[in-house]
Symmetry: C2
Subunit: 292 residues, 2 copies
């Protein structure tokens, strides 16, 4: 492992490509290996144990490829498995939660923040814990009350130290993004169903806590209005990656870099949807077996 | 294995519970073992190789439980893996495709049929092949043209021997059914997007070729109108199971039966969504490891 070793990135599928796209833009001289666990996507509906098992298997694969830094480009896996992976592997690891939490705290003026994500991310309370840790250096525990009233609604409200946080799981957003329905009438109506409750709570900052969600940004912005800042964890995470590479003096010295892709199911569907997520052609892709 | 051995049923998750519910109704004296592969759901977006690998692992688990008959209660797995499973295992196997295809042929008067299902089911052409095999005893091959115009649209039209078949993948239906949005405005609008093309083609029969879709029956019926018969593969498959048990003289002789459930991820989410699908409480559920 040296400066010219690749950055390893894994996600359950195509979602993490929004983070990879930002790496390409901000760190164009870095080699990358992206692993999409397409044989077991989505992670957002799975139990913590299963998400952690899958995350470990993905990390083991990437570590064997001599990566210099691991990026967990999936909010669900970052929420549930980041600490366990940090403790078990010796390479530096970055998740997508803390960068998003930091950015939300930097953005809010009214201390009223919304967080949206998959069921797994929302149930883990990872954003709340991260915001709390940043503000109180981890010393104050918050009490969380479930104010959900409807089936799978998972609408929480948390109050602590003058900060009010609302969280909401939006399971259909992933399917919409993958179907390419990001601005049509179904997308807009679905966004309204999920987010009009948050809108009424007068939040001024909304964290898009799933790497699929930036694709729905236009429809989300329309419902939330101009007064609400949308935090895209891809952008924030890549700022953090850049900083960490600089601190560790691990920046690439080469301009001859490779961008490799691995998937656990056949690449066909990944290419079809992924090239739209990434905004460019995907080459050097290979199907591999993980966790068998 | 004897008359009182259980019927084994597997599906990728909760969808197959629509078939199980019908087994409970029509064959109340049969013991059942249901396996939902919830750690790897959904199958509809996966490649044929992966679906077959998962289906084999599920079958091996059930065969070890001494089942007398296997039901593949998943259209995707039936479409892709039924023949391979029939060839490899010695127990009798029933899938959900042929019963649906037979019922569609029995229902249509105009010979214009629509088939909807997951990407995996539609791409496999399993219903077309099955309809063709029933009509022509498998001797005539049909030519299939892809008339899809939009991204992931997969709208096919097939003409053979005076029969016209239209197929369409409706990926969002699964997420809608699992979210419990089956008759709201988002559900109705999504149904319109997917099905108004089929409606214009004047089909008189529509096969709901995914075990999730019967939950959306009301919205689908509204868009298709009274002139279109909806074929629910659950109902048709259970008629076939009943017939096969009778032919093989394998009907249960006991009225003390057990209904067991196994899942590959933690049961929490399966119970939450599954009890709605099944319309009753789920007991005797256990998490097991398959294919690890």
């Amino acid at each position: 492992m040296d400066n010219n070793s690749p950055i390893g990135i894994f996600d359950s599928g195509v979602g993490g490509l929004t983070v990879l796209k930002e790496i390409f833009r901000v760190l164009p001289n870095e080699a990358t290996i992206y692993l999409g666990d397409t044989a077991r996507v989505p992670y957002g509906i799975r139990s913590p144990d299963t998400v952690t098992r899958y995350s470990f298997e993905n990390t083991e694969f990437l570590v064997k490829k001599s990566i210099k830094l691991l990026v967990i480009a999936c909010n669900t896996a970052s929420s549930i498995s980041l600490e366990a992976i940090k403790n078990h592997f010796s390479i530096p690891v970055i998740g997508v939660i803390e960068p998003g939490a930091k950015a939300a705290l930097g953005s809010t003026k009214t201390n009223r923040i919304g967080i949206i994500g998959t069921e797994g991310t929302i149930k883990s309370n990872s954003y709340i814990n991260s915001i709390n840790a940043i503000r109180n250096k981890g010393t104050v525990a918050v009490k969380i009350k479930d104010h959900g009233t409807k089936y799978l609604d998972r609408y929480f409200k948390i109050e602590a130290d003058g900060m009010v946080i609302f969280t909401k799981a939006c399971p259909l957003f992933v399917s919409l993004a993958e179907e390419g329905w990001t601005t049509n009438d179904v997308a807009r109506l679905t966004v309204k169903h999920y987010l009009s409750g948050l809108k009424k709570e007068n939040i001024d900052t909304l964290v898009l806590g799933c790497t699929h969600y930036p694709l729905l940004k236009e429809s989300i912005a329309e419902v939330m209005g101009d007064d609400v800042s949308l935090i895209d964890s891809a952008t924030e995470t890549v700022k953090e990656i850049k900083k960490m590479l600089s601190v560790l003096k691990l920046e690439s010295k080469s301009d001859k870099i490779q961008r490799q892709f691995y998937v656990t199911d056949s690449p066909e569907r990944f290419l079809l949807i992924g090239e739209r997520f990434l905004g460019q052609k995907i080459e050097h892709i290979e199907k591999i077996a993980v966790g068998i």
